[in-house]
Symmetry: C2
DNA sequence: GAGCCTATGTCAAACTACTGACATGGAGCA
DNA sequence: TGCTCCATGTCAGTAGTTTGACATAGGCTC
């Protein structure tokens, strides 16, 4: 059981290696964000709002790859913590544009720096050029 | 809200694109395996045992990137379905080597073909050469 | 305007996965 | 032998996520 990989050719499967990297990233981000009292979905929500203020709950959910129901919980908790605000009533349709508070922006800045560091460390085995290539290749898959 | 990506430079983050691909893969695999009455973790378990029979529950958990407790549930359900077997008592330590039954191997073959097709389709925007490169790059990240 | 469709927000229930905890079996060492 | 340490298996409790369902708001066509 202590042999490296035996005959299994799991390393030949892109999916498996991708899942492996994803798991490593998730774990690293979890540990980094815990001191800031943030979960990964919460951070994702803040990051999205930082980049594009006024997103609705459903839109946030789509971009964070979770259901609106899940994102709804995240948003409510962040709102209770005073990190973001939503108007009581929607101006136009039902969608209520969400925005960061000053506290939210401050925390996001800290979290963003920490996450960027994690990302940098995780992908450090790859040169800048290969990282760019990796990003492009993955983007091509998404586009397809 | 219908503009492509606005000023957000999310596409510049490897993590985000990686998560995006991972989500797409997960969804596609889910849909593909549902007709076979398999969840992704269940399939992962079968695939691992197909490649390396006799793995213990804890070992399966590690390789599928879940806790032993979670894998325990998966294994028990697959055992109830008659897809795999575990000895009642461990021969040596506490670890009980798990193996596929004939039914398990049959189902795995079907599932494996289906999953491979999904994978092939998902990564089809990339040439064979770029897929190999992508695999190598991701593997390098894992090794680090 | 009436009717239909879509999107959003929200509630409830089910499921999944995790954390924490404990007992057991074996290896290593004094 | 006796002790410690580690890994495995398992039970219980908790948290997060999803599925399913429903009401509402607006766009669309007729």
């Amino acid at each position: 059981m202590e042999q490296p990989e035996a005959v299994g050719e799991l390393d030949r499967s892109v999916s498996y290696v991708l899942k492996q990297v994803h798991a490593a990233m998730r774990t690293a981000m979890d540990e980094t964000l815990r001191p800031l009292d943030l979960t990964v979905p919460q951070y994702a929500c803040l990051e999205l709002l930082g980049r594009e203020p006024g997103l609705s709950n459903s839109e946030l959910a789509r971009r964070a790859f979770v259901t609106r129901q899940s994102m709804n919980v995240v948003v409510h908790r962040l709102q209770e913590s005073g990190l973001l605000t939503r108007p009581e009533q929607a101006a136009h349709g039902r969608a209520r544009p969400t925005e960061l508070t000053a506290d939210g922006r401050t925390l996001l800045r800290k979290a963003s720096v920490a996450v960027r560091a994690v990302e940098k460390k995780l992908f450090s085995p790859l040169s800048e050029e290969r990282q760019r290539r990796l990003r492009e290749d993955l983007a091509a898959v998404v586009a397809g």
